[in-house]
Every structure is written in C-alpha cells, then in structure tokens.
C-alpha cells in the first residue's frame, strides 16, 4: 500500500491513521473546554468585523482575497489586458508560440 516516489514513499493509509490520531487529540482538548455555549441565544448570531451582521449577509466570493488582488494589481491588470477577448490577439499569441517552438526545434 505505498506509492514509491523515487525519494521516499507516500501511503494514504498511514496518513489517514495520523490524521485520525490528530483528530482524537483535538477532540481531547476540545472536550476539556468550557461549556457555556447555548443554542438560540445571541451566541448564534453572525458577526462581521465585530459588528452584528445584517439579515442575510454573506461574504461573497469576489470579496475574498481583495487585498491579494490589490497588492498584485499591476500583474493582474496586465494579465487582464493579455486576455483581451479579441480573436486577433488569440491568433497572434498562437503564432508567437509557433515561432518559439520552431526556433527551439530548428536551432538545436
């Protein structure tokens, strides 16, 4: 039951056993915690950045990693311009890929 990778091996069953052990440990810690949680009180209510979230509030997918995209803004803008949606650009890049492939193959 092991996948030899040339430098070692990978066995999902060993990993699963380890994961089960860690889960057991986590449960052991969790079970010794305080039991002050009560269902149906304000402990159930969702909060966003310390504020009570309005009804039906949802952190939608485009909100996530906003900072990441913002930090990489120049790269992202360039990539967006690169995927211009114009068929002529598609063909241009294909021709460039073809030229690179031809150069690499013919010159070696």
């Amino acid at each position: 039951m092991r996948l030899v990778t040339g430098q070692g091996y990978w066995s999902p069953l060993v990993w699963l056993a380890l994961a089960a052990g860690v889960a057991l440990l986590a449960w052991a810690f969790w079970s010794r915690g305080q039991r002050t949680y009560k269902a149906g009180t304000e402990q159930d209510l969702p909060f966003l950045s310390g504020e009570r979230a309005p009804e039906g509030a949802h952190v939608r997918a485009p909100h996530l990693y906003w900072g990441f995209a913002q930090a990489l803004r120049p790269v992202m803008d360039w990539l967006k311009a690169f995927h211009s949606g114009f068929l002529g650009d598609y063909v241009t890049w294909t021709v460039i890929l073809l030229a690179v492939a031809l150069l690499v193959v013919v010159l070696t």
């Binding site: 949802h58 650009d89 598609y90 063909v91 073809l98 492939a101 013919v106």
Partner: protein, 513 residues
C-alpha cells in the same frame, strides 16, 4: 474472429454509428433514443475496457482496416499502406480516461439537458466527439490522426455553440473554431511535409525513417505549435476558458478530455514519431517551461474570476500545466535517462486521469448550480449548501482533490511531479507548489462563495442521473486517492513505459521484427 480482436475499431465505429442513428431514432420515439444512447455508451465502454485489458496484458494491439486479417499490417510490397489502429499502453490508458468521462457525461446528460433545448442534437454531437477522441487515441496513422482531430474540433465547437438562443456561446464557439482550425492546419502542413519527404503516413514507418533533417525539424515545430495550441498551453490558451466556460456542463467535461487527447497526440509525436531525431533536452525544456508558465498564468487568472464556470475553466487550464511539467521533465532527461525521469512521466500521466475526474466533477457540480438558480455569477451566489447538500459535498471533494490535499488523488500525482522535478530544478517545484496553494485558495473561495452562508434563494435540487454521474467521478477520485499505488502500478506505469522506452516495441508491432 472474436469480438476482442475487433474491439479497437468497434470502440470508434459504434459511437459513430450511434451518433448518426440517434436523430433518426429520436424521430420515432424519445425513449427509443434514450435506450439506444445507453446501449451505445455501455457497449463503447465495454470495448474500451476490453482493448485496455488486452493491451495491458498481451502487449500492443494492431488493427489494420480493410485487410484480410486485423494483424495484416504490411501490404504486398513490404510497406504499411493501409490505415491502422495501434493501441499500446498509453493509448489504452487515454481510452480509459475518455470512456470514464464520456460515461459520466452521458449519464449526467439524461436529466440535465432539456428536450426543448436540443437534447437530441447535444447527444448526437457528444457521440461524434467521443468517437473522434477515441480515434485520435487509437490511430496509428498520421493523416487519420488529423481527420479525427478535426472531427473532435467540429463536434466540440458545435457542442459549445449549439445554444443559439444565447449570445455568449456563439462567440466562444466562433473563437474556438477559428483557433482549432488554425491549429489543425498547422498539423496538416506538418503531415504534408513528412509525407513529401518520406512518402508515407504510417506513424511507425515514418518514425523509422525520420532522421532529423531540416524539414523534419520544421514539421516537428509545426506539430508542436498546433498540438500545444489545441492542448491549451499558455500563451495560446485563451480559447480554453471561453469554450469550457460557455459549454453546458455535460459538454465541458468532454472538452477537457478532448484537450487531453490532443496532449496525447503531443506525447505520441515527441516520444514515438520523433524519438530518433529529437534534441530531447531542448524540446523538454520548452515543454517544461510552457507547463510552468501555463499553471502560473491560469491560476492567477482564476483568482480574479467572478463566473463560476470560467473559474473552473482556468483551473482546468492550470492542470494542463502540471501535465506538461511532468512529462516535460521526463522528456528533458530522456537522452540521459536517470531514474527520476520515469517518475516524472508517471506523475504527469497519472495527473491526466486525476484531472479528468476532478475537473469533470467540478464542472458537473457547477452545472447543477446553474440549473438550480439560473446563474453562475459568484457575485450573486451564496448559501446553496442548504438545498444542494450532495452537490456541495461533491464540489468540495473535487476542489480538495484539485488543490492536492492529501489523501486525495491530486496529491499523489502532484507528489510524483514535485519530487522528480525537484531533481531537475528546484525552481520548477517551487512554482508548481505555489500554483497548488493558489488553486486551493481559488477553490476555497469558490466553495465558500457559492455553497456557504445564509440561504439567499430557493434552489432546485439535482436530479438522480446528475447525482449518479457525479457519484461515479467522486468514487473514482476517492479510489485513486486511497490506493494510488494500485492505479500507478497497473495503469500508469505501463502507459509511461510505453512512451518512455516503448518506441521499439511500437515499431516492431507494426513493421514486424
């Protein structure tokens, strides 16, 4: 004259016949059409499995069309002139991928497609595409390869754009068709050059004659350009998100398998056709660097997508990068043949099957989302997990497998790629790991945005056939994740060896002795 002997051609001819007979039967009665589709699909899968078992146990299968006997490869005159199918380990492996994806797509289509929205047409085109894919994978003739390539191009673009009542599919289909045609013509030009120089179209015969003249090299460059474009390597990948994103879900997963069939064509060209005349390190580095570029660019683009289908499409493109990386590393060290080359090939080839299953599962789940709430815009989605419990679970499983979280299958193949590419250059591994991390981030975001949170609107639950199709793919993902050694030993290693050092066997099977 057993059926096993004819299995390679039956796997191609029966879906072809199925495609042509389907509209006629649909005119008679719809249930007849459905029965026919099930029968043809089951028979094709049985034939593909038969071929695979034969190829893995008793070596290369040869089938000569029109000859007195299927193994009659050499016509009078000592020259292989007939069209033939040659199925070695790699072809059989690719056939299994196509069969798996085709089966899932067919099951899914029964409840997903609506009668008034061209169900018969979509099924016909699907069988045509399936036949073309299997033909590309099984053929041993260069021109036949081109014909099947174009069959898949036409069927795939028609599948993308058959919904004429929307405007975006037609745009995607036009762009894809233009790109596919240009790529196909590059391949045809290369085949013409090879024919003019060596006077043959048989792959094995051509391989034995190619010695590395300048014309051969130009032909190789053209083939590389055309097939890399069809496989969706950056910077010629831009058609892929358009096509995958706009195709209906059951077609998108077949498009992904079709892309992999083009990749198979690339491997066949590099490892069999040009094995005797190739500067392996240079071309290997080209493929490897394109792979790294592909996975990085595609993953970065996936981060900023707001359409669920397009997001998964960029994920699919990034997976092509991993395959190019794995097999490219194997090709780079082919001439010196250190031990990690084969491991890299195993990783790249194993990843093809993983990608087909995981990306397929994600596209099918996205199709359920689109059907349930009528949109795939992540800015409007949320809380679907309340109504679509099974779909959400399948999406989560697929996302984790794609990102390479142990113990799922994506981890096993990526581990093989990481450990072998590290021996070639640690930079490659670093970028590949970075790509995986970003993929996890992208799909965690997609899962959170679409399935978690408060219930925003009512969603129509998935139908039975759609759940079964997703269940099949999920079972494959779990099996390949929990016992990767079984799959690697019995399926992937024969395929990798067939490319890595199987060229002499391939030539001997066709040309004799």
């Amino acid at each position: 004259m057993t059926i096993g002997m004819h299995a390679p051609i039956l796997a191609i001819a029966v879906p072809l016949l199925g495609a042509f007979a389907l509209p006629v039967l649909a005119k008679v009665h719809r249930s007849l059409r459905d029965l026919w589709a099930i029968a043809v699909g089951a028979f094709t899968c049985a034939m593909v499995i038969t071929v695979a078992v034969q190829a893995f146990t008793s070596g290369i299968q040869v089938y000569t069309l029109g000859a007195a006997s299927p193994t009659d490869t050499i016509a009078s005159g000592g020259f292989p002139i007939r069209i033939m199918l040659v199925v070695d380990g790699m072809s059989a492996f690719m056939g299994l991928i196509s069969a798996l994806v085709g089966l899932a797509s067919l099951i899914y289509a029964f409840h997903f497609l609506k009668e008034e929205q061209g169900k018969t047409l979509a099924m016909t085109l699907f069988f045509l595409l399936w036949a073309g894919m299997l033909g590309m994978e099984y053929t041993g003739d260069m021109f036949n390869f081109f014909v099947f390539l174009e069959v898949t191009s036409i069927a795939a673009c028609a599948l993308v754009g058959y919904r004429t009542w929307e405007s975006r599919p037609a745009e995607a289909a036009f762009k894809t068709m233009a790109m596919y045609t240009v790529g196909g013509l590059l391949v045809l030009l290369a085949i013409g050059i090879l024919y003019g120089e060596h006077g043959a179209l048989n792959l094995a015969y051509l391989s034995s004659r190619i010695a590395g003249s300048q014309l051969d090299k130009i032909a190789l460059g053209l083939l590389l350009g055309g097939l890399l474009m069809k496989a969706g390597a950056v910077p010629a990948h831009m058609w892929a998100p358009d096509a995958y994103g706009e195709a209906p879900a059951q077609a998108a997963i077949v498009l992904v398998a079709n892309t992999q069939a083009s990749l198979y064509g690339l491997w066949r060209v590099l490892f069999t056709l040009f094995a005797g005349a190739l500067s392996a390190p240079a071309v290997g580095w080209l493929v490897t660097s394109l792979g790294v570029l592909t996975l990085l660019v595609a993953v970065l683009m996936a981060v900023i997508q707001t359409d669920l289908g397009r997001l998964i499409a960029y994920g699919a493109v990034s997976q092509i990068g991993y395959m190019l990386l794995g097999v490219g590393v194997g090709l780079t060290v082919l001439s010196s043949r250190p031990d990690f080359g084969l491991v890299a090939m195993q990783g790249g080839i194993f990843h093809m099957m993983n990608d087909a299953a995981t990306i397929g599962l994600l596209f099918l789940a996205a199709g359920v989302v689109k059907r349930a709430v009528g949109t795939r815009d992540l800015r409007a989605l949320g809380g679907l997990g309340h109504d679509l419990k099974w779909t959400g679970g399948f999406f989560f499983l697929g996302a984790m497998a794609l990102a390479g979280i142990p113990p799922l299958n994506g981890f096993a193949s990526k581990l093989l790629i990481y450990e072998s590419s590290f021996r070639l250059s640690p930079i490659l591994t670093a970028i590949a790991v970075l790509g995986s991390i970003l993929l996890l981030a992208v799909f965690a975001r997609a899962f959170q945005g679409a399935f978690l949170g408060p219930r925003l609107r009512e969603a129509k639950p998935a139908s039975l056939s759609m759940l079964i199709a997703m269940g099949v793919l999920a079972a494959v993902i779990l099996a390949m994740g929990l016992v990767p050694d079984f799959f690697v030993e019995h399926l992937v290693t024969p395929a990798a060896e067939a490319l890595w050092r199987g060229r002499d066997l391939y030539l001997a099977a066709v040309l004799g002795g």
